[in-house]
């Protein structure tokens, strides 16, 4: 506390200055604490809308992936499909509906490509021997079969039932998660949704 001689006006001005500064700090402290609280609340509200078991749902951002195809020729990653619609299908050779829907998908693959929608089928961690034998049996596919060797993509998407197809739009958001066999009508609907 310096005791310099000041005239009343100066003292008043100094007091007002001090008060302004104090008000500023008070506002800062209150804003910061309330803001932190609001962030925490928003996080919890956001978490509540998400699935408890880590399943990716409609409205979520699609988790990224980088998987190699069955023949080990090319790595396909989420990034290369950004900006286009994507149907991300999970399947297994032991799943009957998967086997049934595959020829239908293959017949429509060109149509999907023409409409700028990609289709990839991720196998859930089976061995290449098994998968290639299976694909040979059904006569091959034009669309890429990706091998999720250590099931990490399966885990990231929280897959419990097969087949399941995620409709992902141009922005990389999941528009819909469809569990079950795809038929012609459903596939056309999916292509439309992926393009929206």
């Amino acid at each position: 506390m310096k005791k310099t001689k000041q005239n009343p006006e100066e003292r008043l001005a100094a007091a007002q200055q001090k008060k302004k500064k104090r008000s500023f700090w008070r506002l800062m402290i209150m804003t910061m604490v309330l803001f932190a609280g609001a962030v925490v609340i928003m996080q919890f509200v956001d978490q509540a809308t998400r699935d408890k078991n880590g399943r990716v749902m409609a409205g979520d951002d699609a988790p990224g992936f980088a998987l190699v195809d069955l023949y080990g020729e090319k790595q396909h990653s989420m990034d290369e499909y950004k900006g286009k619609g994507l149907l991300l299908n999970f399947w297994g050779t032991f799943c009957e509906p998967c086997k049934k829907e595959m020829p239908l998908i293959n017949d429509n693959y060109q149509m999907m490509q023409d409409q700028d929608v990609n289709f990839v089928a991720v196998n859930v961690g089976e061995t290449p021997v098994r998968v290639s034998s299976f694909i040979k049996d059904i006569g091959g596919t034009d669309y890429p079969i990706l091998m999720d060797t250590n099931s990490s993509v399966e885990k990231a998407y929280g897959i419990y039932n097969l087949p399941v197809t995620f409709i992902i739009n141009k922005k990389g958001e999941v528009v819909e998660k469809y569990e079950g066999e795809i038929d012609q009508a459903k596939l056309e609907e999916m292509v439309k949704k992926a393009n929206q």
């Binding site: 402290i29 209150m30 932190a36 925490v40 609340i41 509540a48 061995t127 250590n150």
Partner: protein, 515 residues
């Protein structure tokens, strides 16, 4: 002595300092500040939080209810209307409900504002304490006394008080002795601890502060750790499990072991190696660099960076890892060669000696026949079956057979057959990978909180003022806790120099009122 009745006892809690909030508050900022600076508001908030926490224990929290029924139905079905209200108001997930976090936030705000509002004026008041105090001050203290005497008595008492650990200041014959001023900061220190603790708890929601992942690792398997953004890979080198042997334990445990039904694990642990992903190989496989190896057992985690890997579970049944087959010439009974098929990474062809080849045409990990077709039920190697094609000099195109457990289709007519030659099993270890950067905040907060409590409780701030005026000596004493302690300490010194003992004026006044 009679004069004392004329003086009101002073409120010494904040040294009579003007509380920041008690000034005139024209703006809304100051008004909000004043509201939260009230201890009463803080106590209300604490009360509400306690009540909410209590109500939250009436019915189970969401994480403890059965998974089968969705929570919105569970509470209604199980507890009727009360359960419905409970769920609607968010009590089922109390610690993450918006209004509970809101209350905690307001309490934090209250604690911070209350502390700022009180700490700074108090600090300033204590920093520049005058040695000579007014009559009003001296007589307004709870403890005091008065007697005839001169400055010499005050001079004499100074060294006695210093010996007791008081800091003595003198001015114009008057004396101020003070001890353990830091005891006054106890509540503020403890508030800092509380803010750190709650702040740390709230930090959990910040991405990267808290991770928790369960990873199932087969022996020999290397998997990426999702919690590290797949930067690190973990390999299960070996899983070891020991069971209690009912024959070898104490008789009194034997009975309960048998009651538990056979296998009670004594210890289980996993030897593991941690790898870091440093790039990618040309065939798109991760390039891994070994970081460290170690072991994790229950309660003894394997640690790296900020992560801890805990042994948590194991699969009850081990899984088939490899299967070996001998290629036998059925005519001569001679074994040509033996192959070992890794069930996780089976090869398509196995080159053998002398121009023999075995092709693996198909591998069915969970063999079953559906509609007359051999197929697999799942991706897990539960009941493996193999379609082999044996190429030999005699049969360059190969001879096919389907081989499985107790299964040999088409193999009998062939010249060469695949004979089962053993299997290797692998255990599956479930490890929990955890990271919690909020823990240091919680620990520091807890320690600071306790330190503040202890300081506030066990180090009372004691002060003694002595002043000579017109041939009389005025004595005043202050302590914020443990009145008897001050009296004992002061009285010993006072009587030694021939001054009267301290009186408890508050007690005298109360007794006077009682009469």
């Amino acid at each position: 002595m009679q004069e004392q009745e004329d003086f009101k006892q002073l409120d010494m809690r904040y040294e009579e300092a003007e509380l920041r909030s008690k000034r005139k508050n024209p703006s809304w900022i100051d008004r909000a500040w004043t509201f939260f600076s009230s201890v009463k508001v803080g106590l209300w908030l604490i009360g509400l939080i306690i009540i909410a926490s209590g109500v939250g224990t009436i019915f189970p929290q969401e994480m403890y209810i059965p998974q089968a029924t969705p929570p919105e139905e569970f509470y209604q079905k199980e507890y009727g209307t009360a359960g419905d209200i409970y769920y609607t108001l968010g009590f089922h997930n109390l610690f993450e409900s918006w209004w509970y976090i809101g209350l905690i936030t307001l309490l934090l705000l209250s604690i911070i504002i209350v502390s700022i509002d009180r700490f700074f004026p108090l600090y300033r008041a204590l920093k520049k304490q005058p040695v000579i105090q007014s009559d009003r001050f001296m007589n307004g203290q709870r403890f005091g006394a008065e007697a005839t005497g001169d400055v010499k008595k005050i001079d004499a008492i100074a060294p006695l008080l210093e010996k007791k650990g008081y800091k003595v200041r003198r001015q114009d014959g008057a004396l101020l002795a003070e001890k353990q001023r830091f005891g006054r900061w106890g509540p503020y220190i403890n508030h800092i601890g509380l803010v750190l603790f709650f702040g740390g708890a709230m930090l959990r929601v910040v991405p990267g502060m808290h991770e928790d992942e369960l990873l199932w690792l087969r022996e020999g398997e290397t998997l990426p750790i999702e919690a590290t953004d797949n930067k690190y890979y973990l390999k299960n080198e070996a899983f070891n499990i020991e069971f209690y042997d009912p024959e070898k334990v104490d008789a009194k445990f034997k009975k309960s072991l048998e009651a538990a039904g056979g296998n009670v694990p004594k210890n289980y642990d996993t030897k593991m190696t941690l790898y870091k992903r440093v790039g990618e190989t040309s065939d798109f496989k991760p390039k891994l660099e070994e970081v460290k190896s170690g072991e994790t057992a229950v309660n003894r985690p394997f640690e790296f960076d900020d992560f801890q890997v805990f042994q948590e579970q194991y699969a009850a049944d081990p899984e088939f890892k490899t299967m070996s087959f001998s290629i036998v010439n059925q005519k001569t009974g001679k074994v040509v060669d033996t192959i070992k098929v890794d069930l996780r990474e089976p090869k398509e062809t196995y080159k053998l000696k002398n121009g023999y080849d075995v092709e693996l045409k198909d591998f069915l990990p969970d063999f079953v026949v559906k509609d007359g077709q051999p197929t697999t039920n799942s991706g897990r190697p539960v009941n493996p079956a193999f379609v082999f094609n044996i190429k030999s000099p005699e049969h360059p195109k190969g001879e096919r057979s389907l081989i499985g457990i107790k299964l040999n289709v088409g193999g009998d007519e062939n010249q060469y057959k695949m004979a089962f030659a053993g299997t290797e099993l692998s255990n599956i270890s479930g490890v929990r990978i955890k990271k919690d950067l909020t823990l240091p905040f919680l620990i520091a907060g807890g320690i600071i909180f306790m330190a503040g409590l202890l300081i506030g409780m066990y180090w009372p701030h004691r002060r003694l003022w002595l002043r000579e005026k017109n041939g009389r000596i005025q004595i005043a004493g202050f302590t914020n806790k443990n009145a008897l302690g001050l009296q004992k300490e002061a009285n010993l010194a006072l009587t030694e120099v021939g001054l009267p003992e301290l009186e408890d004026r508050q007690k005298l006044r109360e007794e006077g009122e009682a009469k």
